[in-house]
């Protein structure tokens, strides 16, 4: 009987937990090492760090293992862990120029200062299944690495920094400064300390998007790209690389580099407006943890879309976009419908039965006066 099942909650939960662990163990393969995930499934790790909003590759890999490959669940674990950590301080602001590049491209100009650097990308690989990977032997790996080493002889290392493509446009006065840039550093909103209110500042909007769920962000950006909006983005520059993290030295107050984080940065140039005098291109900006180009591009598109003075499309409506992007929130709420709702349903049943009774008394088409 239903009543008994409800009371058995404690035991059922314990057993369900064991069964879940068993699913991971029941195969005959070797246990997956966290380090293997970190090194070989690095894009998943990057995604988990980005959506979990914590730069911790080893913990992200652990979460990914524990969640059996569910990035939403893994990001949730990481985010929950993050919430337990005290805030030690804020890092100093940076410019994208300082990214130590492993990849940078521009779709706006054929030749850019510093050159296009394709870097590690799957863009131009054919999506054919590589059956050799079925037998991923150490010998094959070694052979590949040796060949790669030979190719590298005589190549020049990349410069430490590259100039920004959009600075060319900026110098020529072709680029409008993005709205909301006038906020000083002191005014930077911290979405982990305050809940969003609308209209949200640009810093709040960018933070929200940076930790958003990749699929959700892409979906909303795609609506804009496809036709429910028309910002017509051009990728001014897309960068992947390592950004130094600097803090103020607690004693001297001088900037002090404590490490670096892998990031993807996108700047999209959008259709021009003539809001202030002469027409100028406008800019959308995206930046996220790890190597996740589609997320950075989608973020930049939405950043620009939300600068629309009079929102007409869903992707231009700041409250609509920012309220629905967080994977941890949507995952939680979407799955909470699995919880018992007996009481509310009982309450609804009571209303429905009453309404049906009332409907029987009042024949369709007859006026309210007859409903006594």
């Amino acid at each position: 009987m239903g009543y008994v099942a409800v009371k058995g909650g404690e035991e059922a939960i314990a057993q369900a937990g064991k069964l879940l662990t068993y699913q991971r163990l029941k195969g005959a393969s070797d246990p997956l090492e966290v380090r293997q995930i970190q090194e070989q499934l690095y894009l998943a790790v990057d995604r988990v760090m980005s959506e979990g909003s914590l730069y911790a590759p080893d913990l992200a890999a652990l979460a990914f293992k524990q969640a059996a490959g569910d990035t939403l669940e893994a990001a949730f674990m990481l985010r929950a862990y993050r919430a337990t950590q005290p805030r030690v301080g804020y890092s100093l602001p940076h410019k994208g120029e300082e990214i130590r590049i492993i990849r940078r491209i521009s779709a706006a100009f054929k030749d850019i200062p510093g050159g296009q650097v394709l870097g590690p990308t799957s863009d131009y690989t054919l999506r054919l299944l590589d059956f050799e990977l079925l037998e991923d032997t150490p010998r094959q790996r070694q052979a590949f690495l040796q060949a790669l080493g030979r190719d590298l002889a005589g190549t020049r290392p990349l410069p430490l920094t590259f100039p920004k493509v959009i600075d060319i446009l900026r110098k020529e006065g072709l680029l409008a400064e993005a709205l909301g840039n006038e906020e000083g550093r002191e005014k930077i909103f911290d979405i982990t300390r305050q809940s969003l209110t609308f209209p949200a500042s640009r810093s709040a909007a960018l933070q929200t998007m940076a930790r958003s769920e990749t699929g959700g962000l892409l979906l909303l950006a795609y609506t804009n790209m496809r036709g429910y909006g028309d910002i017509h983005p051009t990728v001014g520059e897309l960068r992947v690389g390592y950004l130094p993290v600097r803090i103020e030295h607690p004693q001297t107050g001088a900037p002090y580099t404590i490490g670096e984080v892998k990031v993807t940065e996108a700047e999209v140039i959008a259709r021009f407006t003539a809001a202030e005098g002469s027409p100028k291109f406008t800019l959308g900006y995206g930046l996220c943890f790890g190597h996740n180009e589609i997320k950075a591009i989608a973020m930049a598109v939405l950043d620009r879309a939300m600068q629309a003075p009079e929102p007409r499309m869903p992707s231009e409506d700041q409250e609509f976009v920012l309220s629905h992007l967080d994977g941890i929130e949507s995952l939680g709420f979407g799955s909470h419908w699995k919880l018992p709702h007996y009481v509310t349903f009982q309450s609804d049943l009571d209303r429905l039965r009453r309404a049906q009774e009332a409907g029987k008394k009042t024949k369709p088409g007859s006026g309210k006066d007859n409903a006594t």
Binding site: K7, R82, I328, P340, Y342, V343, S347
Partner: protein, 301 residues
């Protein structure tokens, strides 16, 4: 308890766990407590708060949990219910979590608890001034039904512009002969703010009115805290000629304890398909049953 003793106890508990006492770090707890004070000072007003993530999913009681965790001390006695039941999976899960990170003792007895966290019900037994009821809230905004934008609903609250809500209720009556809202029935608090009482049945709404107990509402995902302090007027929205009414179970009583004055769960019998009814508040049901048995034993003597 004396402060020193408390601190000692606190440290002992903390040492035995990998996380801070009551999980949330102290700075975040302090923020939540400040927001609770503000909520108590403005009954029915939704106070935004940071709402950090917990290891429990958003939508699964994280708002209530944050309130509980920020208020709980080692000497507290906790009760957690879901749908009125202490043994329901989500209640068990939450109780286990709070137990793990605080080591407090728990109870199923409404009268014994100092803090009760609940989802979708208010216990049948009247609570006292020494207790706090923490309600988990999915939708803190009562006006969301009529207005999707948060910026707009905040304006409406600010200006006490509730005409859309009243119109909605009126149209409901025209369409269905009565208001169709089942649970989550909107109330006016202290004659000012329209408030979502969380998805409790209408049965529980009168318990909020001029109560002895402090009611705290936490919406984790939506990042809002609000409160009904003791002795506050809480009035369900109604018209002069269309009065608010609670659910009724005509001619039905709990099959277990025989109560006809409690909120009942409708149970469908697997074999016969027949409907029977049982108390939604299981610990109250147990208590009534125990009292009856005691009476029987006494009368036998």
């Amino acid at each position: 308890m004396r402060l020193n003793a408390w601190l000692q106890d606190h440290r002992r508990v903390k040492k035995s766990r990998d996380y801070n006492f009551a999980f949330i770090n102290e700075a975040a707890k302090r923020e939540i407590r400040r927001k609770i004070l503000k909520a108590v000072a403005i009954p029915g007003y939704q106070v935004p708060f940071a709402s950090p993530e917990l290891p429990v999913a958003r939508g699964w009681g994280t708002g209530g949990l944050q309130l509980t965790l920020s208020l709980i001390g080692p000497e507290d006695i906790l009760k957690v219910i879901d749908q009125g039941c202490d043994g329901s999976v989500n209640a068990v899960n939450i109780k286990k979590f709070v137990g793990q990170v605080t080591g407090v003792s728990t109870t199923t007895d409404t009268r014994q608890a100092t803090i009760i966290q609940t989802r979708h019900r208010i216990p049948e037994e009247a609570m006292t001034r020494d207790q706090i009821l923490v309600l988990q809230v999915p939708f803190p905004e009562a006006l969301r039904t009529v207005e999707p934008s948060e910026a707009e609903t905040r304006r409406m609250h600010g200006e006490a512009d509730y005409s859309q809500m009243w119109l909605y209720l009126y149209e409901d009556i025209v369409k269905y002969g009565e208001i169709s809202i089942g649970a989550r029935y909107p109330v006016t608090v202290n004659g000012r703010y329209i408030m979502d009482p969380s998805p409790i049945p209408r049965w529980d709404i009168p318990k909020l009115h001029l109560a002895e107990t402090l009611f705290l509402f936490g919406a984790g995902r939506e990042k809002r805290i609000y409160a009904i302090p003791p002795h506050t007027r809480v009035e369900p929205l109604e018209f002069e000629d269309e009065k608010f009414r609670v659910e009724d179970f005509p001619g039905q009583a709990c099959q277990r304890c025989g109560s006809s004055a409690t909120f009942l769960d409708e149970i469908i019998d697997e074999a016969s398909g027949a409907r029977t009814y049982l108390c939604s508040d299981t610990s109250h049901c147990d208590k009534i049953l125990a009292q009856q048995e005691e009476k029987e034993v006494r009368s036998c003597k």
